[in-house]
Each structure stands twice: as C-alpha cells, then as structure tokens.
Symmetry: C2
Subunit: 417 residues, 2 copies
C-alpha cells in the first residue's frame, strides 16, 4: 500500500481502478441525465414527406410568378389537406389547395403561400405575393434522413435528445447503468438525527451529505447506518455493502486505537491501494478494492468537511466515470483573492470560499472558519479555492483556481440579455 | 388580449401572474434541489461540548510548556475518553488522558497532543512538543451555537445543507411545493413513438421534450396525450389538465382553421393575456389564466424547436418562480460570432449555436439548419445566441450573448487545477 500520495496521484489511482458500467435499457422518458450506450441512427425520414411549414395554400409556383398585392392572381381552391391526412389527388396547373402546418405537400405543388399573403372568398383564393421556389415547404428528411446518425454513443441525454429519440420511434433506449453506493458511518459518538438530544452524542450528518452527493452525481445511495466502534459491527456493515459498486465509509480510517475499518477491510480481502493524501482537509483517506467483488472502497475521514471534500475530489469522478460521463470534473473559474493566505508547503489546500463578481472578475473570500469540523462553512461557500502543495501563501489580488460546488452558481437572477 | 409583445414584455407578463407555491414538509434526505420555506435555527450547539479534534492525549498545557523532541516530558495516562463517552473524572495537574477524535475534553484539560507527537509506554506517555493554548481542541459551538441561523429561508438546498439539517436533528424540513404541469399535444398528424411507422404521421416528440424540460426545471409533468383536431377532444384534455398548476399545449394556437385551442380556452373561462411574441422561433405563443382555478396556460407553437425555445424562455422561469428559486434564468456568456449573421429588424432571434473556447474566449457557431422543425439542431447546440429585435445583423467576431442550455456545459473533462 502506498502512503501519502499527492491529490493528483490519488485521483489517477482511483480512476485507474474504475470501469464504465454496462448498459441497461430504460424508458426514453426517464433517460434525461443518463449517458447513451448505443448510437442512434434513424430508421425513417423526418419529416417523412415534403410538407407545409405554414397554414396557407399549396400552389404551383409557375402559375403565380406575376402575383403581387397590387395585381393578385385568383385561383380555385380544389381540395384541402389537413395535417395527418393524404391529399386526395395531385394539384394541376392553375389550382390551389388549402393546407395546414405539417400536412403533406400534394403532388404537383411546389410552394406554399402563407394564409396572411392571401384573401379567400367563395371557393377561390387571391394570391398577393409571388412565391419563391419551394417557399414554406419543409423537405422530406430536412430534420434527418434514413441512416443518419442522430445521437452518438456516449452523449449525455438532455430534453431535446429525448424528443429526438421519440421522433425516431424509440420509446426505450440503452444507457449506462447507475452505480450503487453503500454508505456507512462509524463511531460510538454518532446517532441518527431523531436521537440528537444527548449532549455526548453527535448526529451522523455525513451520511446525509454523502447520500445527497451520490444522488447529485447520478448514483444510487444505499445507507447502511452507523457502525459501532467494534470490528464485528464494522464487518457486518461492510459485508452488507459488498453488493454495491462502491462502499463509502466515513470515520474509522485514522491512526487511533478505535479505528477498526482498515483491519476489517484487510481481513475481508480488500486490497488497500493507498492511505493518506497530501491535502487539507482530508489527509486520512484510504482506498482499496475488495478483490472478490470488485467493489471500490473509500474510507473517508470522519470530520464533515473532510468527508465531503474527499468525496468530491475522489468519489464523484469515479461515479461519473462509471456512469459513462466524459466530463468527470466540476467547473473551475479563476478568481482574485480578497485576503492574504498563508500555508505550509507540503499539502494541497482546498479552502472554502464565497465568490463575488466585480468588474467582470471573480473575487474569492475564504469563509470565516476553515475548521474541518465546520460543516456550515460548506453551506456558506460557493466552492473550493485550490492552493497547490508547494505554495506557501498568496497575496491579496493573486489569482487562484476555484472549483465550483454550488450547482446554481452560474444561474442568473436577471435574464442577462 | 395584447398581441405581438416583445420577449421582455411577454416574460414580465407571465411572471406577474406567477406566485411562489406554498410549503410542504418532506424528508430531509429527499430535499436536495428544493428551496427552503423556513429559517433553520439551531436548537443545540455543535459540537455539544469542547472535544478533541485528533486522536491523542488530553493534557494541561501548563505542565508541558518546556516539552520538546529533545527533552520530552513523561506523564501518566490516568484514563481514556472514547468518542461518545464521558470522561470518568477531571484531569489533574501532571496527568494525561488518552482521547479520540470527537471525544469530549475532560474537565481540567486545555489542549490535545496529537498521537504523532508522543511516545507511549506502560501507562505513561512522553510528550514531544509544547502545546499551544487549546491546541486541537474543538470548542463547544464552534460549528454553531443555540439560536444561530444556519440556513436562511429561500436557500436552494444542496448536499452540505442536508448534512447541516441532520446535524441539528431535523429529519424533515419545510420546502416550497413542486408545480405540476399538464402537457398535451394537438394534431391529427401526431402519433406516439410506438406508432411511428405510418409515413403520413409524425411522432409527438414535443411531449417528450417538454416533459423532460419540466423535470429539469424541478416540476412534475403530467402527460395528457394527443388531442385530435376537434374542439371536443381538446376541451376534454384541457379539462383534465385544470388540476395542474400549469397547462402546456403545443400546436393549435396558430391562425389556421384547424387550430381550435384558443376558442376552447375562451369557452373554458380562460382569460387570454397575450397572443404572439416578437421572436423567432416561436411567434405564435398564447398565454392565459383559467380564472376559476388559477391554472396558467401556455399554448406553445407546434414546431419542435419553437415549442422547446418558448418553453425555455417563458415556462421555465415561471416554474422556477413557483418553486421559490431566486435565480430564474439560465447562465449567459459572451461569445464571438464565427460567421456573419443577417436578420430583419422586428423580432428577437434565438439562434442555436455550438460554443468553443479559444484563447480564453467563447466562439459561437450557428448550427447548420436553423429551421424551427429541426429538433436535431437543438441536440447539437450548446445554447441560444440572442440577436435583439432591432439588430439587423452582426459581423464575424462581433460579441453576442449566449444563453447556455446544455446543463453540462461548464463541467470539465480535465480537472482544471
């Protein structure tokens, strides 16, 4: 087992052990946010035939080249074509057909005159404009033709993709499976929120934060509850979690006598890949793989902020890779520090910051209390400013990278255009 | 009824008729993405008492001011405090207590020596460093005290908020209700995706796109199916939709003889507020309110792109306002055009574009086919470039506002720091 990796080394190590999950077939209407596991080719044309893009009249352009508002041309309305219907017969010279948006163009017709450019009366219509060639005609296959690739495998499906899938008759679709994540907390001091009255106890808030982080990443959390500080209790929980793709335990991986997780993991046939990442918060992170099941195991530190940040940096990219995402990482912006920051060289620091925009630039202010126990500091921050391992501090006004955690950060209160 | 509003006027008109929905109480673990409808004040302290931030030894600092690696000070280990347990007695001068992360600080102790800074042997521990005042002690109430406001009403709840709610013992929480949206399509040419073989028919893809857009916005879609082009069929569907907060119909609002929706709406006691918005795509938008139920009714145009874009610009902000969001709007970035664009003055154009980053700037290229029937163009674009009503065109290199629709647009393939 390696010890004391850099953030970069640790991230590479966890992603190296991560495979994209196999495919499953789900209802198209449930597929938003999932990654397509097949290539979608069209088996039909859209529109299936030439059709009208407007409500108006189907005409033969050659009849109407001289038409204008000053000298309209009057033609008989010989039939009507509704959307979803077939034309009764072909259109002959000197004729017009009433037509509606989406209705198939009758044979013989080669342009549509918009209703607004006509006057109709007693079975005849006066055309007030000369049509351009194929004006207001949607060509068969304009949206897509037979055999066109509509959506490439690996695409993240959004609302318009679901519409496009429906339009080629696909009511089910193949996407990558969602990972399951078994979550446990460890510690005799921990209780569930409904038992929070005892002053010697602390609510196991990590399971709430981590389950929500799993869901946000697209994975399915499976909460196993609080393990007591005994090898037997921890082993029972970890066994229950082996069915999952990933186990995330918080607490129990430190150096204290009461931290049993590591020992139990080794006994279970979990190959430990590394212990300790040179970062703050979050040093005591352990990562391994249960060899019999392939389950990835993350032992996160117990402090709420350390647990949340190590999940963010190591577990989230793993879950997104399993889901088939290409973009495994959060947005990053450059921001100017509003306060001088000092640190020792050695560990990479993730500092919770509030961002403000002034003069077209982001400005980052660290939240007041950076203690790893202070979960409310994550509540207040927009993201994590990154101070590299070798950095010994930065002055006011210096630029830092800030990883954006707030999912609504880029949303706007004003329309913005 | 007003006709031919600007995009801005139409947006103001729909938001003016929109109320934030009342509150409901839900499980905290399900509350991510929802807007808090109460102010969360803490009824307890976190941590509840002074406790250790490390595994190590609780000591009295005054005993150890001269300790160093060269001249360690040896003290007896008189008891042990595990997390979740109480100390047996207070710590006296010249004593140390074994202590674990999260365990309460014994009375009398005022600093923690990390395990790494000690050597222990046969009931005694050698201290290798002089502690700072209250070093590695987490003060009672460091995270929050009794009566502290932890989360303000109106906050969008994310993963750390759920952890914070749990940590104050809140297993349920009050959030704004989610709007229901009744969706119907109209047109004899439309069929569901599993009936897509008939070449005279077109799949009703709008219902898929719109339902996914509702879900993405946080609302609950309720699909009513395809209405036939008869007042009776449309009326039956609209009646079924009156239970919803919002009705979204696509097609049926244009000027053609077969467009019955407007007539039916008026008959149902729907006060029509406006018809027609000076935009492209999407001019024939109708908006009204059913007076007896307060249901907002949007009659969107039938073309897939027009329906999707008008939903985006008018329905989505309404749904987000109902949900209690402050940020009603999508992110907007400035981008440089890679192609010359021309248009007529009069309507605001939303042009689907692909964005690329070069030299730290965004560059916007319109997708090839801007026909409002071409849903696949939305699939390919990252967002909508905005060309104002009065604009008659822009040169290559000119700056435009681009509204970002792709939810993954800011995510990164590389870690970025």
């Amino acid at each position: 087992m390696r010890e004391g990796l850099s953030v970069d080394e640790a991230q590479k190590a966890v992603l190296k052990m991560t495979q994209r999950l196999a495919a499953e077939t789900i209802s198209t209407s449930e597929a938003a946010g999932r990654i397509l596991a097949e290539s979608i080719e069209s088996g039909r044309r859209q529109p299936p035939q030439d059709c009208s893009a407007m409500d108006g009249y189907a005409v033969r352009r050659a009849d109407l080249l001289e038409a204008s508002a000053d000298s309209p041309i009057s033609v008989p309305i010989v039939f009507e074509v509704a959307a979803g219907a077939k034309a009764k017969r072909s259109l002959e010279a000197g004729e017009a057909a009433r037509i509606f948006t989406g209705a198939p163009l009758p044979t013989g017709a080669d342009a549509i005159i918009r209703q607004e450019d006509t006057r109709s009366d007693a079975g005849r219509v006066e055309i007030l404009v000369a049509p351009l060639a194929r004006e207001h005609v949607r060509d068969a296959g304009e949206d897509f033709g037979i055999g066109d690739q509509l959506i490439a495998s690996g695409t993240l499906l959004g609302a318009p993709h679901l519409g496009a899938l429906a339009s080629v008759g696909r009511s089910v679709v193949s996407v990558h499976q969602r990972p399951t994540v078994a979550i446990l907390s460890g510690g005799n001091e921990l209780v569930e929120p409904d038992r929070s009255a005892d002053p010697d106890k602390i609510v196991s808030s990590n399971s709430y934060t981590i389950a929500a982080q799993c869901r946000e990443a697209g994975a399915m959390p499976m909460y196993l509850g609080i393990a007591e500080d005994t090898p037997t209790s921890i082993e029972a929980k970890l066994h229950a979690g082996q069915r999952a793709d990933v186990i995330v335990s918080s607490a129990g991986v430190s150096v204290g006598d009461h931290d049993h997780v590591r020992g139990v993991l080794e006994k279970m046939g979990c190959r430990l890949h590394f212990w300790g990442v040179k970062m703050k918060p979050g040093f005591p992170l352990v990562f391994g793989v249960i060899e019999s099941t392939g389950t990835l195991v993350f032992g996160l530190p117990g402090n709420p902020v350390s647990a949340s940040v190590t999940f963010e940096e190591f577990v989230r990219p793993v879950l997104r890779k399993m889901l088939g995402h290409r973009a495994l990482y959060r947005p990053v912006v450059r921001a100017r520090l509003t306060e001088k920051m000092t640190k020792k060289a050695g560990r990479l620091h993730f500092v919770r910051v509030i961002l403000e925009t002034r003069d077209g630039e982001y400005h980052a202010t660290p939240v007041e209390n950076q203690s790893s126990g202070v979960l409310t500091s994550l509540v207040r921050g927009h993201g994590l400013a990154v101070f590299r391992a070798e950095c010994e501090g930065l002055d006011v006004g210096a630029e830092v990278d800030v990883q954006i955690l707030d999912p609504a950060f880029f949303d706007q209160n004003e329309r913005g255009f």
